[in-house]
Amino acid sequence: MVGIVSHSGYVPRYRLDRRKIYTAMGWMDPSTAANARGEKAVANFDEDSVTMAVAAGLDCLQGAERSKIDGVYLASTTLPYKERLNAGILTVALGLRDHVRSADFGGGLKAGTTALLAALESVQAGGAQGLIVCAADCRMGRPASAEEMIFGDAAAAFVVGSEEVIAEYKGSYSITYDFGDHYRGEYSKFDRKWDDRWIRDLGYEQFLPMVVQGLLDKYGLKMADFAKVIYDCHYTAARKKLNKMLGIAPEGEQGNYQAEIGQSGAAQSLVMLSGALETAKPGDKLLVVSFGSGCDALYFEVTDQIGKKGACCGISGCLAKRAELDPYEKYLVWRDILPANLGMRSEEDLWTRWSAQWRNRREVLGLWGSRCTKCSTPQFPTQRVCANPACGAVDQNEDYLFSDKRGSIMSYTGDMLAASYNPPAIYGAVAFEGGGKHYFDFTDCALEEVETGKQVALSFRRKYFDARRGISGYFWKAVPVKEVK
């Protein structure tokens, strides 16, 4: 049996109330009032599609045997590198082996489901035992556009394999159309689109029924067979019409998180799938349909393995960990839409030394340190000479992963002098459970939430952006652990 072994999703902590966008920008286009409801999830200033994919991926890998992962697929239309495999960064950050196959999937918004299909069929064909598929997007609408409100940032991740499958892959049907509803050229930062009515009437209302019918015919199914239908369409009126056209009962429709997250691009249908799996029951048949330059329809059947895995954070966990993004201008600064003054300290040249990055790739991207085999002291970064003053053994180390360890705050501060997109820059000393210590930036928190002794988890983040050379550099930051009630 081939299918999904585990799943998770990630939604950034910060949510922007769409009415705030309207208050700030509605004067330019009053018609955006129609979208000024609910909130959109906004990646922190140190997040992008790669870091969000890592967050979802790590959560998804909890309890998984990393050695059984043979491949890493990353789907997104907003990846930081055109050349330099983004999935390669993801592979190290997830703590996986080097000897795996990895690939970036992009272009159209159906890239997420296409990557998932590629992984499933690779396992089916016997080419791999297991793969991890992550999809993430961070698309931007121009200020005062409807898309600025509609789009949200999120990620989803799935481990696929043939053992302990929670949702069996039963089949798929795909269509591909060069449909220019939304597009971005090589140098575009913001989304561009054609007429909404054309996208809705010709795109959603023709392509979705077409791909669904294709799947039903191929496998001899009818809509009533599905416990949940998951499809990407952010137009509220069109969804109502499509539900009727496709024959989806109210309880059979998986919500699209438009009010909580927003349209999350290549991740959208997979974020919804992960959300659906959170409450799925054995025997449920799920239909997943993506949209963007065509459609993929995937058909799963939930097994009795569902619910046997320990709870991860997932979409619902992330949704509960929200903080309001206020004011709207903060969003503009974080996305570098508003060129705010960060001070001259921000202008220091960060010459990424690729040979040094290569030597330290596991340490920097994976948060691997060492543990002394003589005295068992974990240490970061890797030390040739043991840091334990009572030991001092030379070259008696083994690799030791810190990214999955919790730590506690030993000291901290909030720094107004440091150049930051979100001052004060909060950082401090983190002592890891089981040993080891490092000074980390803290993120996804306010200074008032930080205290000595408090627990933190590690999160992969963009450490710096070298605008001159277009380099996104990554490292890990500490996030104070929230109690989710």
Partner: protein, 401 residues
């Protein structure tokens, strides 16, 4: 068996520029200013200097690398000149090297000069790029000096259960005292008296450190000419001789940084260097025997913690001593008698020598009545270069013959 530096080296002369925003001066101007005073005080001619040590830290925004800026600026005639750098301990390192050269018998008369031109950066605070080379921005948090030291406060509060409010009270007293001392000193960078309210209401720099908890970033230079006590006595038969009693350095081993035993609320290096310095200077009870101090108060919290690490205040007891005025100018062990880094200023590569200069002028009774320490027996200076978990602590003890 080595027996240390005590009484083997004497200070023949010293010089120190006015510290501050010396917009009109280059590092070369500052070197000349300190050297001219120092040479005149020593009462010798330039040609009698046999070797020299230059201390500078931020070579990128200052004089550049190597010892040549000193040799060329002063036109030292093909002397052996060496540049030393060890963070904020740089000037004390230059002094230590010069003293060791004399004590070793390699030379009779040696110059140590520290200089730093910091005000060509274009912004307040220190420039970045302290340590770790190419790995710094790859895996070090986005830290600045105030934020690194501010963490002493949160860790100290956790360690000793002292509320952040009380810590703020104590560090406010520390800063007010240094401002009071600095205000009287014409060579100090910051010469205003500040009130408790000003300190506590100042803009936050790095929690809980406000503007007045941070030292001045200044331009300046200081110099010393050292020789043997015999030569000093023969050249200056009618005055007291200031002799070196101890010079100790301790560098972090990575233990504080990577091993979890360290509480983040003290300087392991300072404790060790202080113990060794007291042994070298034959000081049995520092709280009773040290007459005055200049310590590394880059931030007020650093000074507070250092009072314990120098074994003057009991561990966890700095608050009581500070609040009782023990370290004020008229207290038992006056500290930051010239204003400290806080107000005299902190040109990194010059600070250690400036501290020794403060001791030197007190020991030779050269300060006006209002600034005088009542009984300036032994004077202790202390630098702390780096950050709390990875640093160089340097201590010197000097005394009058």
């Amino acid at each position: 068996m080595a027996d240390g530096i005590r009484d083997k080296v004497a200070i023949l002369g010293m010089g120190c520029t006015r510290f501050g925003e010396r917009w009109d001066c280059s590092a070369e101007d500052l070197m000349v200013e300190a050297f001219v005073e120092c040479l005149a005080d020593a009462g010798i001619e330039k040609k009698e200097i046999q070797a020299a040590y230059l201390g500078t830290h931020f070579d990128e925004v200052n004089v550049g690398k190597a010892a040549l800026p000193l040799a060329v600026t002063l036109k030292l005639p093909f002397l052996p000149v060496t540049r030393v750098e060890n963070y904020c301990a740089t000037a004390t390192e230059a002094f230590r090297a010069a003293s060791y050269a004399v004590a070793a018998g390699a030379y009779d008369i040696v110059l140590a000069l520290g200089v730093e031109k910091l005000k060509d950066t274009g912004y307040g605070g220190l420039p970045g790029g302290g340590g770790r080379g190419v790995k710094a921005f790859m895996e070090m948090a986005n830290m600045t000096a105030p934020g690194m030291f501010a963490q002493l406060a949160t860790a100290y509060s956790a360690k000793w259960g002292l509320s952040m409010t009380k810590i703020k009270d104590a560090i406010t007293h520390v800063s007010m005292k240094s401002h009071a001392n600095g205000a009287m000193n014409p060579r100090a960078h910051l010469r205003t008296v500040v009130t408790e309210e000003q300190c506590k209401k100042a803009p936050m720099i790095a929690y809980p450190l406000g503007l007045f908890d941070c030292c001045g970033v200044s331009d300046g230079s200081a110099a010393a000419i050292v020789t043997t006590p015999e030569i000093a006595r023969s050249l200056k038969p009618n005055q007291s001789i200031v002799k070196v009693k101890a010079l100790q350095i301790a560098c972090s081993s990575g233990e504080e940084e990577m091993y979890t035993d360290w509480d983040g609320a003290h300087f392991a290096t300072t404790r060790l260097a202080a113990s060794k310095a007291y042994a070298e200077a034959a000081v049995g009870n520092p709280r009773q025997e040290i007459g005055m101090m200049e310590v590394h108060d880059c931030f007020s919290i650093t000074e507070m913690v250092t009072m314990e690490d120098l074994h003057i205040s009991p561990k966890g007891g700095a608050y009581e001593d500070i609040m009782s005025g023990f370290y004020d100018l008229n207290g038992q062990v006056p500290c930051q008698i010239d204003g400290g880094l806080k107000c005299f200023g902190h040109p990194i590569g010059a600070s250690g020598l400036r501290m020794i200069y403060a001791m030197y002028e007190q020991l030779l009774d050269r300060v006006p009545e209002e600034r005088k320490v009542r009984n300036p027996r032994l004077g202790l200076t202390h630098n702390l270069g780096g950050y709390p978990w990875r640093n160089v602590a340097a201590i010197s003890i000097v005394g009058r013959d």
